[in-house]
């Protein structure tokens, strides 16, 4: 039970990263390797505003989300739009470039020191069924649920959301129907940035420290989740995130660190291999290939 709850909480945050990865992949067939690093970089804003300027956590959090959204938008305008017809592998490499760039900035300004970001809400929590769940973790669960539902509703019920989905199916045909291609692309990358910041903000209280690249594990978990879910399915990414969180918690609980080093990462690799072997399109991924 304890393990299940811990797993679901971590998993919900993997789900946020996985949602960002799947959204971008669906829209552009590009794997965004910077999906967790964008938010790690902008978390320094939160730290700076909250500790240096003593502003409330929510202000720092919103600043981080705004900055991450801006990074997504700028990257889209400067790189993605120029590479519309480039091979997808090339664009994927460009996201590795973004990852390295953000990491390099973190290292340049903040290397060598571990920073502490104040917690979003009072420390403490409640015990349910013998499991202690901190307020921060409740917050994470609530926010992730709301964001996932909100995003799903937006994509399904608004004209722009449907246009985003249509564009993911076939960008040229969507444009021929009169949907705004440039704005759809900007939305995708801006949203990816925002989801990245949100995930890092929500997992930070559990990890406890901020240092350059501190949340690489978040990316590995999110990527595993997205692969499990099928890469182009948002519900798949979400469920994949929860599943990966639970499996990771189980592995951590049952295998001591000494038996297999980094047992959780190993477990994720096993999951990825298993999914790719048994069901390459993922649990909820579309089976049909994409039309040319």
């Amino acid at each position: 039970m304890q393990v299940l709850v811990v797993g679901l909480i971590a998993g919900s945050i993997y789900a946020l990263i996985a949602l960002g990865i799947a959204l971008v992949y669906k829209a552009t067939r590009v794997l965004n390797f910077a999906q967790a690093e964008i938010g790690t970089g902008t978390l320094y804003f939160t730290w700076w505003l909250c500790t240096r300027h003593h502003l409330p956590w929510i202000v720092g959090a919103l600043a981080s989300i705004a900055a991450a959204t801006a990074i997504g938008l700028v990257f889209e305008a400067l790189v993605i739009r120029k590479m519309m017809t480039a091979p997808r592998v090339t664009v994927t490499v460009a996201t590795i470039g973004l990852f390295s760039f953000v990491l390099a900035l973190e290292l340049a300004f903040f290397a060598g020191t571990i920073y502490l970001v104040p917690p979003p809400i009072h420390p403490g929590g409640v015990r349910i069924g013998g499991v202690f769940v901190s307020w921060s973790q409740w917050l994470a669960l609530g926010v992730v649920g709301l964001v996932a539902l909100g995003l799903a509703a937006f994509l399904r019920y608004t004209d722009f959301g449907l246009a985003v989905q249509a564009s993911a199916d076939d960008p040229v045909a969507a444009q021929l129907m009169g949907t705004p291609r440039a704005r759809i692309s900007a939305f995708t990358w801006g949203m990816a940035g925002a989801l990245s910041a949100l995930a890092v903000l929500l997992i930070e209280p559990t990890v406890g420290v901020l240092s350059p690249g501190a949340f690489n594990g978040l990316f590995i978990g999110g990527l595993t989740a997205a692969l499990v879910g099928g890469l182009n399915s948002l519900p798949g990414a979400f469920i994949g995130g929860l599943a990966v969180g639970v499996v990771e918690a189980e592995v951590k609980a049952h295998l001591s660190f000494n038996v297999i080093p980094s047992s959780n990462v190993t477990a994720m690799l096993v999951i990825v291999l298993g999914v790719l072997l048994l069901r390459p399109q993922g649990l909820l991924g579309a089976t049909a290939g994409r039309r040319a």
Partner: protein, 271 residues
């Protein structure tokens, strides 16, 4: 001079160093249907894409309702009244039938939401099959139903002109006949169309005038009625006998029974 609804002048376009369109002129008058015919690779689809704005024009111009749209984005052209049935139909497979139609009405819904409800009802009336399958993902539709959806999705936005690229390709003969019936009905309402067709019989039945394209150049343009068998034979590579058969009765095409000599249709591929 009364300008045509769509005017294409000296259009040149291509990819990299390769020129595909070598100065194409084309007029589509309001209320008329113009058919573009030509062999595979003649540049018919590229011409439609340049007119749509998804392939850039190197030089020349495209005017829609008197307005130069040569450098306008595809979505703006749609807002100005262009609609498309792309080659291969390209319905949005993961969206439902109704969501596809809603995306087709993207510009209309921003102008006038209540008009959309009317149009949706009209499309469902024209294509009862689509109404039946409104909640079904488009990927689950048959080829014929997808063709209907692609046409409905183009018509729903109240366009001034519809650009249609090979609507009959890959459809069984009976479905082709259904589609022809729908398009003839739409034509009789006065909708302007620019049509590309491999199925020459189908195309000639619908078109008021024809434009023959050969390796990116217009080699004939004028009335379908005065299209002679020589030209069809030379430029489309159809046999003389067939060309003879095709040009016969063109003048009376709307009263001619639909099923006449369907067996000999130039290209009817089955699904």
């Amino acid at each position: 001079m009364s300008a045509a609804l769509l005017e294409v002048r000296g259009l040149r376009a291509g990819f990299g160093a390769q020129t595909i369109l070598h100065g194409v002129d084309l007029d589509v008058p309001e209320g008329k249907v113009v058919g573009i015919f030509g062999l595979n690779g003649a540049g018919k689809s590229v011409l439609l894409k340049v007119i749509a704005g998804v392939v850039p024009a190197w030089s020349g111009s495209v005017c829609l309702a008197g307005e130069d749209v040569t450098r306008t984005s595809p979505e703006r052209r749609v807002q100005r009244g262009m609609a498309h049935v792309p080659q291969g139909r390209q319905v949005f497979g993961s969206l439902t039938v109704e969501q596809n139609l809603r995306v087709g009405a993207y510009a209309l819904r921003r102008r006038d939401k209540s008009r959309y409800d009317e149009r949706l009802a009209q499309v469902y009336e024209t294509f009862p099959k689509l109404a039946e399958r409104r909640r079904q993902p488009a990927v689950t539709l048959s080829g014929g139903e997808q063709a209907m959806l692609a046409v409905g999705r183009a018509l729903i936005g109240d366009p001034k002109i519809v650009l249609i690229d090979e609507p009959s390709a890959g459809l069984a003969p009976s479905v082709v006949e259904d589609l022809l019936g729908v398009l003839l009905a739409v034509r009789s309402l006065g909708l302007t169309m620019l049509l590309v067709e491999q199925n020459i019989r189908f195309g000639l039945r619908l078109s008021d005038s024809a434009c023959l394209l050969q390796r990116g150049r217009v080699v004939y343009s004028g009335d379908t009625a005065s299209l002679d068998q020589e030209r069809l034979g030379t430029y489309l590579g159809v046999g003389r006998l067939l060309a003879d058969d095709l040009t016969k009765g063109l003048g009376a095409k709307s009263t001619q029974p639909r099923r006449a000599s369907r067996r000999k249709a130039a290209t009817v591929s089955s699904t």
